[in-house]
Amino acid sequence: MAEPTGGNVTQAGSSAGDFPPFRQRHLLSIADLKQHEIIDLLDRAERMVPVSRQERKTHPTLSGKTQINLFFEPSTRTQGSFEIAGKRLGALVMNMSVKSSSVSKGETLVDTATTLNAMRPDVIVVRHSAAGAVELLSQKVGCAVINAGDGAHEHPTQALLDALTIRRHKGRINGLTVAICGDIANSRVVRSNLLLLGALNVRTRVIAPRNLLPAGIEQLATEVFTDMRKGLEGADVVMMLRLQHERANGRMIPSVREYYRFYGLDADKLSHAKPDAIVMHPGPMNRGVEIDPAIADGPASVITDQVEMGVAVRMAVLDALLPAGDVR
């Protein structure tokens, strides 16, 4: 497996100087981004990696800006990652955890947006259990909005951090074969990844039991497999997805042990991928459910690198959406 190659490997040749202005107002979905904008964000993230590795981890381009992390469902790692990213850029970061929105519980999402907007933040990072909720909120506020995961729709910064991790390990993204395995139907990570990888001409495969494959997925992925060994054949990247426990009680699949037998990543199944294939997981992992602990913590795993790249990507996105000196 290739070693991470540091901060100077980029897809489209590196941009040496300052980046041109980023034209998007929000980051709601990968579907909104053009190929050059994706590469631009990856290149920006590349430049943020050393910031997190230096002794004084600051790059205060967002000094004086206010960032609100609005999480309607719990998420330790994404929320923490955005918090660190904002703080390393010098922003004032406020975390708000709100119990799942529902009319019956009083304040609506739109009410919440209106209230927060009155506090004049510069960016709101939102996680919500309903697809499209972040977009709805973005229509009601005057600041930038970043989607930190909306239902089964999208999780754009996850796809960007995955792409950055792949690029640093493989030296490129273009032309690779990436296999994504697990609960495809209910995963926002899959949608964002398929859109992003598709935009970068990656051969994408999805692997899952038939009832965890959503309708029309063949229009989004290059190939669709129900047999994991066949799906992993010759893959450069193996991306595993978390299986929600509530789906493993006979409602969607019969049991965890049956799932692990056929769709859990172990050494035998991984041996079908390329010898230098890397293994990824958006976390948190269910060891022994979707992945063998030996693989999760083994040499092919780049899972902790993904976490590191997550901070860099989020710094890059905040930096791109809130350029220094911009008055909103």
């Binding site: 009319v103 999402l109 499209g132 239902g151 089964a152 729709h153 029309g216």
Partner: protein, 432 residues
């Protein structure tokens, strides 16, 4: 006693008789007393004469599926506001769904609604009664007493009866009174958490899909039970190509069945949802363009009998939500005719067929004397300019709720005058 009313110089379009010709209609005491095609008509002394200016004179529309807020949720819609919206849209009678609070499952409430409708509404309100008490799908209501009170049909509104045995009982019993059973088709298990049509578009949006089989499986069951019991059965609204095939086959076997379609499923498809536009969140969901085309074909070949608005007022509180959490439903009384005329203007269906599905067919299914331009029929009439261009604007909506799936749409065709029982209840005023 009102003055006689003569409408002349009209393009008289009456699907019941297949008429589409220039003509005149005379109305006396709320009833059509004479009509003349291409010829003179006797004019009583003192008659009010309306020059139709060549506009279409047609029977008033009969809408078989309208939800109101009253009783229980008057902030969404009252019988009065629904009546005003109906008059603007050319709907002279509508069937009011029993999904109110309280549910219309008792004869006394039917009686109340008829009185209240007469007192406050400009158009005829025809209460439908619940098939099951409280719409719970467990025990049938008093069909005979409900019919005596004035209920025009039996339906559980937006609820779908899951138990085949109970539905069989209801159908058998309804057949005693020759009451039509109007049934919404939704297999609860297959609908699950679904919020839009199942397919690639739902997958891209990350929304749970509703498979077409959630409609076709209960439809196949219902058609067999209808044949078994001999009831007059009306599939409330179908939306898929397979459903049209099932209805067509059942009709070919002489089963006593009819089917309706929502104007939404004729004029819109799932792609209209765009980026989570909740005004397009409907039950039955918007389907694919192929299904929409199948609905148009089914209307053309007579498989589908009726077109209705599925008028369902929802306040902004329940619509300004993330798509999956928003309530289903859109208003539609004011846009029903103009949206249906889209199909005429595009050459997909002729004017007589479109009007037939909103006039004489619902009248026949419900056993009403209206829905036709004939001597002795109630003078429920509309005069409309089929080409009049207008844009749907939120501020002009008469309904108490604003959740129209045609917001901002450019439409051609506007009602100029609506007449109910010989009285003009709406007159379009030109803005210059």
């Amino acid at each position: 006693m009102n003055r006689p009313l003569l409408i002349e110089n009209a393009r008289l379009v009456d699907p019941a008789s297949g008429t589409d010709a220039r003509g005149a209609v005379l109305v006396e005491n709320g009833v059509i007393t004479d009509l003349a095609l291409e010829g003179p008509i006797g004019v009583p002394d003192g008659a009010e004469v309306i020059d139709a200016a060549g506009h279409v004179l047609a029977p008033g529309l009969i809408d078989m599926r309208v939800f109101t807020g009253e009783p229980g949720k008057e902030y969404r819609e009252t019988l009065q506001s629904a009546g005003e919206a109906a008059a603007v849209g050319g709907v002279t009678s509508f069937v009011m769904m029993p999904d109110t609070s309280p549910v219309v499952d008792d004869g006394a409430l039917v009686d109340f609604l008829l009185r209240r409708g007469k007192a406050t509404s400009k158009v005829n309100i025809l209460p439908a009664a619940a098939i099951t008490k409280g719409l719970r799908g467990e025990e049938i209501t008093e069909f005979g007493l409900l019919q005596e009170a004035g209920a025009v049909c039996l339906t559980d509104g937006r609820s779908s009866i899951q138990s085949s045995a109970l539905l069989r009982t209801a159908m058998s019993y309804a057949a005693n009174y020759d009451m039509p059973i109007v049934h919404h088709l939704a297999d609860r298990g297959l609908v699950g958490d679904g919020v839009m049509n199942e397919g690639f578009f739902a997958t891209i949006l990350g929304l749970k899909g509703i498979p077409r089989e959630a409609e076709t499986i209960p439809l196949a069951r219902d058609l067999q039970l209808a044949a078994l019991t001999g009831v007059r059965y009306h599939a409330a609204q179908i939306s898929t190509a397979s459903s049209a095939e099932l209805v067509r086959a059942a009709k070919a076997r002489h089963a006593n069945v009819t089917a309706g379609v929502s104007i939404n499923n004729l004029a819109l498809n799932e792609n209209d949802i765009g980026r989570y536009r909740t005004f397009f969140k409907l039950a039955t969901p918007l389907r694919s363009e192929d299904d929409r085309q199948a609905m148009i074909e089914a209307l053309r070949n007579g498989t589908i009998d009726t077109i209705h608005s599925d008028h369902d007022p929802q306040d902004s509180e329940v619509k300004r939500q993330p798509f999956a959490e928003a309530s289903d439903g859109a208003i539609g009384l004011e846009t029903l005719l103009a949206a249906a005329l889209r199909l005429v203007h595009s050459g997909e269906v002729d004017l007589l067929s479109v009007l037939r599905a909103m006039t004489i067919r619902p009248a026949q299914i419900l056993g009403l004397p209206s829905g036709r331009i004939a001597r002795g029929a109630p003078a429920d009439l509309i005069l409309f300019d089929p080409d009049y261009p207008w844009q749907v604007s939120e501020t002009a909506i008469r309904s108490r709720s604003r959740n129209t799936s045609f917001e901002g749409a450019r439409l051609a065709g506007k009602v100029m005058r609506t007449i109910v029982g010989g009285q003009t209840v709406y007159l379009h005023t030109y803005t210059l």
